[in-house]
Symmetry: C2
Subunit: 400 residues, 2 copies
């Protein structure tokens, strides 16, 4: 496992421990070739679908729908060696070990390397998994322009894919999907545990708020006559964060992007644009949080004489892991003598997409310092082995 | 007056009513030439000093120190027709009228066009007035690089000035300086008055604060484990604004510039850098406000586990108008049948610099909507005439 993670990290190596691997780049192509080679070496039949997901298939004797595991192989820019790669290589290693130790399964097992989970090159996250569930409209590849100015269509053609055939990636024969992934947070470290079984993935609403007041001279305008959007912004930030804290874990709310105009020290700003990312694993609780936050924002804007407009930029339903799969994961953990905790994923994952067409669950491996999306992200080999044991055990219970 | 303001606005005309006139630019040179021509036409002796201030002098029969009025002729980018230009042309018109109506004065009268009050081309505000009070060190013209990448030294040479001679602009023979200026705020409009006599100019402290936490995944990090500098920023903004409001007018506090890193919607920011501009016309009250704001910031940072560093970027002492000059202004206003209010200037002015070597006072003219630093700034001709009447009357009382 360690060698494979290291070898895989050479495709798009960035500095000492970083990886910079964006969709349809030469290093991404090399990584897919490597994954395909490893699949072939493990005796799996390789299939590259029409958007670039790579599938390694171990045919079951009884046919039927597949049991699938995998994750993504694109990274943030720059990211580390574990986010995505761990679950992709982990799935392959688990199936390879099962094939060696237990031979041909009854049910078909597949390992998959998914593409563009991160939106690193194109504002098109979950590109691979959305293709699998049939959620990419025909016009989309021409419409989405990457940060390098190239459309997805052109980037696909450059690597030999036909953007008109995206629809062919649709799968209707997946029974269960189990994703192994690093936690990307500090919960496992705080609990002193190597592995978590993920009970669900938080739903989220991302919005961009524009708060407008009147720009004026910082000295000449008395406080009482100001319409200062930064004052309103501050009240809103404290308020929406306060609501998330009051609701308690797993509610989270983040103000990640803030742009002020004209952004000069001696001018009362005229406009603040900012994002609010609100998440909760329970759909009803998420709705409740969002409603309270929206009410608070409108109250602040009205009271301070500011105009407020909101634009929803992303919305994902909360996703609950399949109860039967959770039982299998727990049994497998028990057999492997791993003592996992159960937790909710605050981060979004491909699993959330695939849950629309299959039973899903996830396994988390502890992240050192809770860090991810950085070359410094790290998970120990011991922890990784625990995660793969639980994954392999579960696949064995489901497929043999 | 209206014609001259209009003619003057053609030097650096920007759109319909805007002006974009930066120090030592060709349009600035044209404006100084125009001012000098008008001075000559009014019978004044013209002197251009070593930094580019232009002086029009009406010699008094008794000699002695001068009675001076004027303002700056550079603009923000873009600014309007009134900020600075009003006080420059207003001084000339007042002295021209006095010379016509009352002949040679006892005391010498001067009208002056000052340069780079705004920091529009160089981070060197009050350049002209600082030269007059002898506050420009010899090495400075070489050190300050403009927003266009050119040093003040090179820009001076381009317009025929010798940067090594800045010290020659020093004046030791100014008795009184009276500046006519647009209010740049909404106070006169709210009071339904054309003119204000300015009792003092607010002192200010400008600081840049850097608040550092730890950047992390917006979904995967529970609220309790975050070190979110935006949360701290919000508390600080509400706190420092609250202190200014509580202290009451003329205390003001503005957060004008905010930069967040990495500034992505799904990442808890690691760093927020922002400015705080705090002003008060009473030095002791300003100190008190700053002390309370600093304590509040440190408390918030410590409580949220954030590191805070502060860098003072500007500091001006509050400046109180000369009591005797204020009496002359009031008498002149009474004679002219103008009913001015008295108010403090929250905005900084050249007067603040010149107060270090002379008795000073200011006259404000109402700004429509309180607006300035924009092509839309406007003051009516009636209001302007009221302001010039008070100025001319005061100069008459002082010089004849």
């Amino acid at each position: 496992m360690a060698q494979r993670l290291e070898a895989f990290a050479t495709f798009g190596a960035y500095g000492k421990s970083g990886v910079w691997r964006t969709l349809y780049s030469p290093e991404w192509v090399d990584a897919t070739d490597q994954f395909a080679d490893w699949c072939i070496g493990a005796g799996l039949a390789v299939n590259r679908d029409s958007v670039g997901n790579v599938w390694g298939r171990l045919e079951g004797s009884e046919g039927g729908k597949s049991i699938v595991s995998g994750s993504h192989i694109d990274t943030v820019t720059p990211g580390g060696r574990y986010d995505g790669a761990l679950g992709t290589i982990g799935a392959l290693i688990a199936i390879e070990a099962l094939a060696e130790q237990s031979g041909k399964p009854k049910r078909t097992l597949e390992a998959v390397a998914l593409c563009e989970e991160e939106s690193s090159r194109f504002r098109a996250n979950f590109w691979g998994s959305r293709a699998i569930i049939g959620k990419i409209a025909p016009e989309v590849p021409d419409q989405i322009v990457g940060f390098d100015g190239i459309t997805i269509s052109d980037a696909m053609r450059e690597v030999g894919l036909d953007p008109e055939l995206c629809y062919q990636a649709r799968r209707r024969d997946i029974d269960a999907f189990i994703e192994l992934h690093i936690e990307q947070g500090p919960v496992l470290e705080a609990a002193d545990c190597s592995v978590a079984l993920v009970t669900g993935i938080a739903g989220l609403r991302g919005i961009t708020i524009t708060l407008e007041g009147v720009a004026n001279h910082a000295g000449a305008f008395p406080m009482q006559q100001r319409k200062d959007p930064v004052a309103g912004f501050a009240e809103i930030v404290s308020g929406v964060i306060g609501i998330a804290k009051e609701m308690g874990s797993p509610a989270v709310t983040t103000i990640g992007r803030v742009n002020v105009e004209p952004n000069l020290a001696t001018i009362i700003p005229g406009k603040v644009e900012f994002t609010i990312d609100a998440r909760h694993a329970d759909s009803d609780e998420l709705k409740c949080m969002i409603t309270r936050q929206d009410e608070l924002m409108n109250e602040v804007a009205a009271r301070l004489g500011l105009s407020l407009s909101a634009h929803v930029t992303s919305q994902h339903e909360a996703c609950v892991s399949d109860p039967e799969l959770m039982v299998e994961l727990e049994c497998a953990a028990g057999t492997a003598k791993v003592n996992p905790i159960k937790m909710v994923s605050g981060a979004a994952h491909d699993t959330q997409q695939i849950s629309k067409i299959a039973r899903t669950a996830m396994i988390f491996v502890r992240s050192q310092g809770g860090r991810s999306h950085t070359p410094e992200e790290f998970s120990s080999l011991d922890d990784i082995v625990d995660g793969i044991k639980v994954l392999a055990g579960t696949l064995h219970r489901l497929a043999y």
